[in-house]
Amino acid sequence: MGFLTLLWLIPALGALVAALAPSRNASRAWALLVSGAGLLYSAWLLLPYGRGAGALRLEEIGRGSWLGIRYRMGVDGLSLPLIWLSAFLIVVALLSSRRDFSKGYWASFLALEAGLFGVFSAQNLFYFYLFWEAALIPMFFIIGLWGSEGRVAAAFKFILYTFLGSLALLVGLIYLVVVHHGATGIWTWDIPELARSPIAGPASIWIFAAILIGFAVKIPVLPLHHWLPDAHTEAPAAGSILLAGAMLKMGVYGLLRVLIPVFPDLSAAALPWLGGLGAANVVYGALCAMAQKDLKRLVAYTSISHLGFCLVGLFSLTSEGIAGAALVMVNHGLSTGGLFLLVGMLYDRAHRRGVSDFGDLASGAPYFAFFFAFILLSSIGLPGLNGFVGEMMSLAGMARVHWPLAAAGLGGTVLAAAYALPAYHQVFWAPAGPGSVTAKVTDMEAGERALLWALSAVILFLGLYPRPLLELMRPAVTTLAGRL
């Protein structure tokens, strides 16, 4: 059994066991155990990279190859941080969930984890797509079964939108392989091999567009973003954490892993457009977030804004931009995941999410106030915390090639303060209005505090010393940038 197969197989089988467990508590304990094991395992995978060896590590099991479809997994410096992030967020999400959820809940999260691990470690496009889709279904149930009032509509919107993207992706990928076969006479679905001999011709534009749409829905890029606010808002807190923290990254990772390596020329040609879309994402998400009255929705829109930085960095096609985008992925996962975690804790206590439902929490719940401020500041890109480094690198990359777009992105950082702080003021500082639920909010318990201390420590560390992560990514980024 290969070391990467084990990675996704453990949670996959774990999900089965969790679904069949004799009781809810057993299921929960088992899920925590498995996700904890996943976290340890992913951390163990990171270890060899600490010594500076950052290249691709492949695992091949079985010799079967059918028309180029073969089971092939591999990790490198770009996928490992995301694997670790997913594992970390799953643990955080499960720990923060109420104990009385049913067995299906715990099983769904493990299944989701398996899908995420698979996506981030597949080296063959077929399996990439397989895991890509497999991750959707548990999320559909998580939103639809355990979400809040509008959950059903949100789950439906989620599945329709993401499926739109998936279908575009599927057709694009098959078309890619077919055209590649037409040009080279070789059937292959392996990402490295496809990247080795780029295809050209009129069909390539269509393929590029299809694959781009596939990933863009997931990220989400501007005109296709509409599923996100609803899904994030209505999902249970743990679901939102994973949705924003890990699942959106699938799209960016896809761009990074598939689209740009396979279509370097087209990506370069599309640079102003896609970078522009990214900048538009930044500004649009921030503007929408500014006007939100629901905390969770606000955080959801900030995701759109942050993922815009990923696009800006990625489509600068410079090494620092790409590394920045990769870093934004991790950082956004931590900070937005943390925000959803906090909003979820508030919601658990007060069953409200409206900004104006709260007030003056800072005096009654100082830990909430502190952690919320800390993570919010990381989210709006305060230097010294993790959010800044990635955004700065993305923008620096873009500034080198197309600096008006970088300027637009910078405008987003101003708007970030404009959406984050007023909401914070209302919830934590302003006197509680009539009908507010402040009284129901008790301060954090020790366990919750520990969770957030851990998160904050990571946030601070990555803000001041992101170098290990950057070094980890460097070989892959260099390879990618070298191809452009």
Binding site: W66, F141, A155, F156, L160, F163, L170
Partner: protein, 451 residues
């Protein structure tokens, strides 16, 4: 040939049982039917020509007959059986299909078609005996018979054009030949429910017993597809006209199927329209094959195999749960989690979500179509898949998310061991076909080797 004989023998044995006045022993009739089907399955092999060249048992025949027999098994296990007559009709229909699959002569094909269909009409009515099922049977009878008559007329034209009725390329391609082909294809298209020849299909699926609808949607469709493939192979050069028409038929079929499924409140009817949509995808695969003239790829067989398990499973779940209307679905997941979970798995497969057979099947169809330069048609199919998501996931949503409506739904059934086995028998292959992409290569090889 042997399996055909086994089926016929079983049929005659049942007739004899009936004549001997041992009727009423429904279980023994069921046992004979199941035994005959299993035995016939064991006897399947590509044995070559037989019966003075009237039969040609090749790889196609064997593969397809396997599908027929596997599709018939749940029907034989589930259908109500007051006396032998239903079992007799089932075996007769199966024998007709087997004949169709291995016929090497246009008229034998016709006889096979009629032997398959006539008991089918009767079964639609006799398994349910309601006013609706009678109506459906009559509608089906008229459309099927009219199509059979068109087929016969086409065959006569073909005979006039070539002087031959053997199922092998004969004579130069001519307009008359191609025209006759088009007329004959009508019968095949009707059997699979291609639009606009599909109207009987939702009526029949809705009104007949769910297990029978499952049988129709799998075995009859498979037979129809094989029928179509045989016809397409008939002219010396692949027909230009059919190549032109097939993608349009496919696109219209999947579109109509999916869009009409959106508004159904009868579950069987919804599945019927869904099966129409699936025929659309299948026809896309058939078209792709006609385009590049390679030996038949495994895609179509894979699709049929995957569809066999998922459709049978879906209809069997309907039968076992007793659900009929959309309203009854609400909250079913909480009431009967296992059956609902099984149903959801089948629906996911129908919606072609990995890792299920439905996904892999559609995947290879798309692949074939893209190889055949059919990107535009693939986009149509992809859009249709999206529409499909709409109703498949609505179904899952209704079961899983909606609050239960206690008085509407039938009580959760207590499944016997045999019934559970049947469900597992559908679920496991559905998953297996989804996780092993090599199955396509394997099926292609199987079809090629047995040629």
């Amino acid at each position: 040939m042997t399996s055909l004989l086994v089926l016929t023998a079983g049929l005659l044995w049942l007739v004899a049982m009936g004549l001997a006045g041992r009727s009423g022993k429904a279980q023994s009739a069921r046992a004979v039917a199941v035994f005959a089907i299993l035995l016939a399955t064991l006897c399947l092999a590509p044995t070559g020509e037989a019966a003075d060249g009237l039969l040609r048992q090749d790889g196609f025949s064997a593969c397809w007959q396997l599908i027929f027999l596997l599709a018939a098994l749940p029907l034989a296990m589930l259908m109500p059986m007051e006396d032998e007559s239903s079992a007799i009709l089932l075996l007769g229909s199966l024998a007709g299909m087997s004949l169709l699959a291995s016929a090497n002569h246009l008229i034998l094909l016709f006889i096979g078609l009629e032997s398959m269909s006539l008991p089918g009409y009767l079964l639609v009515y006799r398994l349910n005996r309601g006013r609706d099922s009678l109506e459906a049977a009559i509608k089906y009878f008229f459309m099927g018979s009219a199509a059979a008559a068109l087929y016969l007329f086409g065959a006569s034209l073909y005979y006039g054009a070539t002087g031959s009725l053997a199922l092998a390329p004969a004579g130069p391609s001519s307009f008359r030949l191609e025209f006759s082909l088009a007329l004959m294809a009508v019968a095949a298209l009707l059997k699979i429910g291609a639009v606009p020849l599909h109207f009987w299909l939702p009526d029949v699926y809705e009104a007949s017993a769910p297990e029978l609808a499952g049988f129709f949607s799998t075995a009859f469709k498979a037979a129809g597809i094989l029928f179509l493939l045989r016809l397409l192979q008939l002219p010396p050069v692949l027909s230009e006209g059919m190549q032109l028409a097939l993608p349009w038929i496919s696109a219209v079929t999947m579109t109509v199927g999916n869009f009409l499924a959106l508004r159904q409140s009868s579950l069987a009817r919804l599945l019927a329209y869904s099966s129409i949509a699936h025929v659309g995808y299948l026809l896309l695969g058939v078209w792709a094959w006609t385009r590049d003239g390679r030996p038949l790829p495994g895609s179509i067989l894979l699709y049929l195999a995957a569809y066999l398990f998922m459709s049978t499973g879906a209809f069997a779940a309907l039968r076992l749960s007793g659900l009929k209307r959309w309203e009854q679905l609400r909250g079913y997941g909480a009431r009967s989690p296992w059956l609902a979970g099984f149903m959801a798995l089948m629906l996911l497969s129908l919606a072609s979500i990995p890792p299920t057979g439905g996904f892999l099947a559609k995947f290879f169809i798309f692949w074939d179509a893209l190889r055949a330069q059919g990107a535009g048609w693939v986009w149509v199919a992809a859009f249709n898949s999206l529409v499909g998501i709409g109703y498949y996931f609505s179904w899952i949503k209704a079961m899983a998310f909606d609050p239960a409506d206690e008085q509407a739904a039938p009580p959760a059934p207590k499944l016997s061991l045999r019934q559970q086995g049947l469900l597992w028998g559908c679920a496991v292959p559905t998953l297996f076909l989804g996780v092993w992409p090599g199955v396509h290569t394997w099926l292609t090889a199987l079809l090629g080797a047995a040629r």
